[in-house]
Symmetry: C2
Subunit: 239 residues, 2 copies
DNA sequence: TAGTGGTCTAGACCACCCT
DNA sequence: GGGTGGTCTAGACCACTAA
């Protein structure tokens, strides 16, 4: 583990524990560098991480401060960008059931080829799952995975966590992802599986997941019941 | 302007011009450092920027490559996190009209105080605007701005761009923002102003905008017609 | 003016990929 | 084993803030 990540972890822990008062100032970068026995550049990199996470902000010439409204950010909604999979994203007392509605293999369409950067002849798994949380329908997920990248998927895997399987068993390392989010009126399947009434919309999230090496390994569309999910996003300094 | 931003700008321009083939490899960091007459660390920082933007990705031990599906990312939808304001986010041939539906001053509620980090006695502007693009209703925006931070707002400003006013006339510098996104059934105002039918939902975006010094200067809720907007988001390496 | 964060450099070592 | 990116250091200079 890189040193700057360790420093960030430690500072994050201390901040969340309340060792520094909310709205308060952190020690300056030189002090932190000494305290963590490292260089100032490394401290800066750690602080940049925390800044992206929305925990602190820095003002040139003044100092680095702890944001006042931290609690709400980390507790509400689902963080955009986290690719740990829904299985690990929900709380402790909640019960998540993945019901497999469809599981096939087929050749991809032209659009799917482009998104997944594969050839037309390269087969993909086509998966449709219903997510149920505490006995309430939560979302329908339509996902495509190239067989050559993620082989040997089974219904048992689908009922647990695909991402766990990909990481732990296939041994792939995740990179970034792209997401497109919009609202949509309910369609037939939303009404059937999510119990949407005519005026109850869904939040549709289209996502392409990438490996560390830049190859896409999943192209998915998830339709959430509007009252079960809120996506949250934290954006840092621009120019 | 920082050197690493200049390097990023230059590389971005070259990539978008197609000087490097899509899916191709960039020169290695040492070559780039020499070419731009700078250090490798600075090159790395520039490449990190482009990586966050989704233009390139790096593989340790192998090289830095140009992403294949760039066009779609930059052209579709509205980028989450850009705080340039809608006025500058839409294209050239489009006509944006801001119709002011309400413009008041009042004291904030407790929740609003917390979001804006101000006191109950500190007045806020309360603004309701309808956005119309090419004669089609686009979104309703409800926003609150502390009078002490952003004084002297006028209807004329509201019809143009509030963000332009804040930056150019008030002279404040923007920092980051937090956004919460969900789908919602249409309410009375959505039906009235956005012409939503009963089954036509809205995409609701709640946003807190921060200044460079960490102070919030705007708390807003925007309800978009579901068929007029898609938010897109690009997320990079985790772990 | 003193203190702080932002940036930059040159050089170094390591982990990883590919052949 | 040679090439690549990831990280780290010590020291430096600058821009900005705050008194």
């Amino acid at each position: 583990m890189a040193k700057y990540k360790n420093v960030a972890d430690e500072l994050r822990k201390q901040i969340k524990q309340g060792n520094y008062p909310k709205g308060g100032q952190l020690p300056n970068q030189n002090e932190l560098a000494e305290k963590f026995d490292t260089s100032r550049v490394t401290i800066k990199k750690a602080l940049d991480l925390l800044s992206v996470e929305g925990l602190v902000f820095s003002v040139q010439g003044s100092g680095t401060y702890i944001k006042k409204n931290i609690a709400q950010i980390s507790d509400t909604g689902i963080k955009i960008g986290q690719n740990i999979g829904l299985t690990h994203q929900i709380g402790e007392q909640t019960e998540l059931v993945n019901k497999v509605l469809a599981f096939n293999v087929r050749f991809p369409s032209d659009e799917e080829c482009e998104q997944l950067m594969i050839k037309n002849e390269s087969p993909v798994y086509e998966i449709k799952r219903l997510r149920v949380i505490n006995n309430r329908p939560y979302s329908i997920e339509y996902s495509l995975l190239p067989v050559e990248l993620v082989p040997n998927i089974t219904p048992a895997i689908l009922e647990h966590s695909v991402y766990d399987y990909i990481r732990q068993d296939v041994g792939l390392v995740f990179g970034g992802n792209q997401q497109f989010i919009k609202a949509a009126p309910p369609n037939e399947e939303d009404r059937q599986y999510l119990n949407c009434k005519d005026n109850e919309p869904v939040l549709e999230v289209t996502k392409v997941m990438f490996l560390e090496n830049g190859r896409p390994f999943e192209y998915s569309k998830v339709r959430h019941r509007y009252d079960m999910v809120e996506m949250c996003f934290n954006n840092t300094q621009q120019e």
